[in-house]
């Protein structure tokens, strides 16, 4: 029995799960699985984007006024942060492909720092909104806010509240996905520390990377849609 086991081990690493015929099949299956999962995420966010686009079409002026009040500089910084984090993810995968363990660990750590920075900046934005009473609910107020480009016209607070409701739900859901991503990368970091990734096997890094890139792309849509309505330099 033990002879068979050790011969068996030689044919593939310990990562091969036994219901797969070979490592290639496992890799293909896992990769397809992550892509399909991302498709479900597209549909999930898609419903929100749909609702947002409809209301933005109906209440453009009110949405523009509300959009003006959120901090595009912070949002822009966050966009840069996330794009950099996607770069570090790609570098981490390259490091694994070329057996650079220390670089891999450094890139994973850097990615997570960028992620935390994103969440921190988001927290600042949310706190600002809370202080300005722009959080939907009982204490919401948005009186006498001018509509950009229409002097003398003021935003309808009810419509502005819809903007803010969608703003918080969309960015909140996105932040939740970031947190999950951070959890995922913690696990990847632990595996990298233990030396589990080799040029032949680093599938978890690839699919973790896919997820991270997806979260980045969602933000890249969110930023102009939410922060840059009718803004002029």
């Amino acid at each position: 029995m033990s002879v068979q086991t050790s011969v068996h081990q030689d044919l593939h690493g310990p990562e091969l799960l036994h219901h797969f015929a070979d490592p290639q099949q496992q890799r293909n299956a896992v990769s397809l699985g992550m892509w399909i999962f991302l498709a479900t995420e597209v549909m999930f966010f898609g419903g929100l984007f749909c609702a947002y686009l409809i209301y933005r079409g109906w209440f453009f002026g009110d949405f523009a006024a509300a959009s003006k009040s959120i901090n595009a500089a912070l949002g822009g910084t966050n966009t840069a942060v996330l794009i950099c984090s996607s770069l570090t993810v790609v570098l981490a995968i390259w490091a694994a492909q070329t057996s650079r363990r220390m670089l891999l660990i450094a890139m994973l750590v850097l990615t997570m720092i960028f992620g935390l920075a994103f969440l921190g900046i988001k927290g600042i934005e949310y706190r600002d909104k809370f202080e300005e009473h722009h959080v939907p609910g009982a204490s919401f107020s948005f009186d006498h806010e001018p509509i950009p480009g229409h002097p003398g016209q003021y935003a309808n607070p009810q419509h502005a509240q819809i903007f803010f409701a969608l703003y918080f739900i969309m960015t909140g859901l996105h932040a939740l996905h970031m947190i999950v991503g951070l959890g995922l990368f913690t696990w990847l970091l632990v595996m990298a520390w233990k030396g589990r990734f080799t040029p032949a096997y680093h599938t978890p890094l690839e699919i973790g990377g896919l997820y991270w890139h997806f979260v980045d792309i969602v933000w890249i849509y969110l930023f102009p849609l939410l922060y840059l309505i009718d803004r002029h330099p």
Binding site: G152, Q153, Y154, N156
Partner: protein, 329 residues
């Protein structure tokens, strides 16, 4: 049909006949199809019951057959679609001079007000042979105005008007049901549509009311100060409402919208949503200050300002000579 075992609803409107005709056609088509499939299945099952030593014959398929039994049903479906669409368009497009009745639905009752002013709760009296248009809104949740005998149904929404119409053809009393689940007493939100011969209807009408809805609307128009800005000359801070209803309105942002009931309603409750070209956005909102019935009255009044020969106040909102002859106080 049988009193306790109805197999078919009464037919009491022009639309009912059209709907029933299509329904019967569908019954025939479905009946034939069902017969075909059932017969084939039962026949094959019996005829080809397994017999010892007899093997099944492996038949791959037949593309011509597949094409045939895809195209023919599709053809039949397109006929049904077209017929259904024609019936639908007719039944959902109110004629121009229909008598108007305003309906306000609320949990759990129907409040109706004739343009002439009669108010009813959970019942609607109409004469045989007249086009009646219902302008409906809800005070709370979504309801649905359903009269099986007329084959008519329309959801009644909060926040906007929806419209239904019918032309009653047979005197009698017919069920009115709420057909969109709306809470505890959804199944109690029922009433009667009472279709009367014209003479009886006139008698009923003269039984007293609060005056035409548009007159009520005129009173509210004055009480709330609308007349201050919406003057009939060019000096007003708001647009002149004479002759406005039914015409296109040019907005500040360049769009043109029709001045229909929903536009009038929105202008009262959310005036900032559409600013008329050339006017400042100074109109205050009346959301919370007027009830649905009052909004209906105001809408009826503004519509009356567009009636031929209207001087603004006294004419009923339905221009037929018979009506204006029988003013009710």
């Amino acid at each position: 049909m049988f009193d306790n075992f109805p197999l078919w609803p009464s037919r009491a409107s022009a639309t009912a006949g059209n709907v029933d005709a299509l329904f019967i056609f569908l019954l025939i088509v479905s009946g034939l199809m069902t017969l075909l499939v059932f017969t084939a299945v039962i026949y094959f099952a019996a005829r080809y019951r397994h017999r010892k030593g007899v093997l099944a014959e492996q038949i791959q398929g037949s593309t011509p057959l597949e094409v045939t039994w895809s195209i023919i049903p599709l053809g039949v479906f397109l006929v049904i679609f077209t017929w259904g669409a024609v019936v639908y368009f007719k039944s959902r497009t109110p004629p121009r001079d229909a008598t108007e009745v305003y309906v306000v639905a609320k949990q759990w009752m129907w409040k109706l007000e004739h343009a002439e002013g009669q108010r009813e709760i959970n019942s609607l009296h109409v004469p045989v042979g007249r086009d009646v248009k219902l302008i409906m809104t809800s005070q709370d949740v979504i309801h649905s105005f359903f009269v099986p005998a007329f084959r008519t149904k329309q959801d009644v929404l909060p926040g906007r008007y929806t419209v239904a119409w019918f032309h009653a053809t047979k005197a009698g009393t017919y069920h009115l049901f709420c057909a969109e689940y709306c809470g505890t007493a959804h199944s109690g939100m029922i009433g009667d549509i009472v279709v009367m011969e014209p003479a009886q209807y006139e008698a009923w009408m003269s039984g007293g009311s609060n005056g035409p809805l548009s007159t009520t609307g005129e009173k509210i128009f004055a009480e709330l100060g609308c007349v201050t800005c919406h003057r009939t000359d060019t000096q007003g801070r708001g647009p002149n409402l004479q002759g406005l209803f039914g015409k296109p309105v040019l907005l500040q942002d360049g769009r043109t919208v029709p001045a229909d009931e929903n536009y009038l309603r929105e202008s009262i409750l959310d005036p900032g949503a559409k600013i008329v070209n050339g006017f400042k956005p100074v109109m205050p909102t009346f959301q919370g200050l007027v009830s649905e019935e009052q909004v209906n009255a105001l809408v009826a009044y503004v519509k009356s300002m567009s009636q031929p020969g209207a001087t603004g106040a006294k004419s009923a909102s339905n221009g037929s000579p018979e009506q204006s002859g029988s003013q009710v106080q």
